[in-house]
C-alpha cells in the first residue's frame, strides 16, 4: 500500500485509525451518504464525536501522527491538536496526512454525539467496526443544515430511501 500523502483521502484508514484508538464517533455527511449508496463525490470525512474528555484524549492520540492542521489556514500557525485545543473548540476542519477530516462536536439538527447515537447504525465489516448515522437522520441533518449545495444530494438520498422502502 502506498504511503498516504493527504492529497487523496484514505477514508478507510482514517476510520480505522480512529477505531483503533477507541474514539467514539459517528460518520455523517458525504461519506455516510456514500455508505448508503450515493454516487456523489466527497473529499472529506465528517464525524460527530463525543465531547467526553477521555474521548478528546483519544482523538488527539489517534491523529497526532497524521499531522493534523487547520484546513485553509496559513502555514506556520502554532496549531496543535491536543486535549486543550479540542476542549476549547467544537468543530474543527482539518487536513491530515490521511486526508481531510471534519471533527464536529455538534451539527445542525443534532446537539451532540450522544443525541445522534440512537439514530446511528453499527457497520461491522472486515475487522472494522464503526458507527454511521442512519439514512433518515442523515436526510434530516441535511435538511437542518439548509445549504443550497445540499439540495441535489438530498434528492439522491431521498431516492435511495424510496428504493429501500420498496
Amino acid at each position: 500500500m502506498n504511503a498516504p500523502t493527504g492529497d487523496v483521502p484514505d477514508f478507510l484508514r482514517i476510520i480505522r485509525t480512529l477505531t483503533d484508538h477507541g474514539v467514539e464517533f459517528i460518520v455523517v455527511g458525504g461519506v455516510a451518504a456514500n455508505l448508503f449508496g450515493s454516487a456523489r463525490l466527497t473529499y472529506d470525512l465528517d464525524i460527530v464525536y463525543s465531547r467526553k474528555e477521555a474521548n478528546l484524549r483519544q482523538i488527539a492520540k489517534a491523529l497526532e501522527n497524521a499531522n493534523p492542521y487547520l484546513r485553509g489556514a496559513p502555514l506556520g500557525l502554532p496549531f496543535k491538536l491536543d486535549l486543550r485545543t479540542l476542549k476549547n473548540g467544537l468543530n474543527f476542519t482539518l487536513t491530515t496526512d490521511l486526508g481531510p477530516i471534519d471533527l464536529l462536536g455538534e451539527v445542525p439538527g443534532a446537539r451532540s454525539y450522544e443525541e445522534l447515537l440512537n439514530d446511528s447504525i453499527e457497520i461491522n465489516e472486515q475487522d472494522l467496526t464503526f458507527r454511521c448515522v442512519t439514512l433518515p437522520r442523515l436526510i434530516q441533518l441535511k435538511n437542518a443544515a439548509g445549504r443550497p449545495k445540499d439540495l441535489e444530494s438530498l434528492a439522491e438520498l431521498r431516492a435511495i430511501l424510496e428504493d429501500l422502502d420498496k
Binding site: 487523496v8 454516487a39 465489516e125 472494522l128 438530498l154 439522491e156
Partner: protein, 110 residues
C-alpha cells in the same frame, strides 16, 4: 404539496405521526411558522432539530429527484460498505487527476 405532507415526508418514519399531543403541537408550530414567514426556521424555542426545508427548496429537491441516476446507486448498493468507500476514494483520485490535467493544460496555453 401540503404543509402537512411536507412534514410527514421529512420525518421519514422517525416517529409515528400524531403519537402524542406534544409532537402534534410541535408540528403545528412549525407549519404555522411556514405559513407566516415561509422560513425554514423552527419556532420551537431551543429546537435545533427542525427537519423542515423551505417550500422553495422542497420544490427544487423534487425537481432533482426526477433526474437522480438510480442505476449508479443500485450499482453501489451491490458493493460492501468498505468497497463503497474504496470506490469513492478511487473516484476522488480520478477527479483530482482530471482537475490536475485541466490546470496543467490551462497553464501550458499561457
Amino acid at each position: 404539496m401540503t404543509f402537512a405532507s411536507l412534514l410527514c415526508e421529512v420525518e421519514f418514519g422517525q416517529q409515528p405521526l400524531e403519537t402524542d399531543l406534544g409532537e402534534r403541537e410541535k408540528r403545528e408550530t412549525v407549519i404555522n411558522s411556514f405559513v407566516k414567514s415561509g422560513s425554514p426556521e423552527s419556532s420551537v424555542p431551543g429546537d435545533k432539530t427542525s427537519p423542515s426545508l423551505p417550500l422553495a427548496c422542497e420544490e427544487i429537491v423534487n425537481l432533482y429527484l426526477k433526474d437522480v441516476d438510480r442505476s449508479l446507486i443500485r450499482e453501489n448498493l451491490l458493493l460492501s460498505y468498505t468497497d463503497r468507500l474504496r470506490r469513492l476514494q478511487r473516484n476522488v483520485q480520478a477527479a483530482n487527476a482530471i482537475r490536475g490535467a485541466g490546470v496543467r493544460a490551462v497553464k501550458s496555453q499561457r
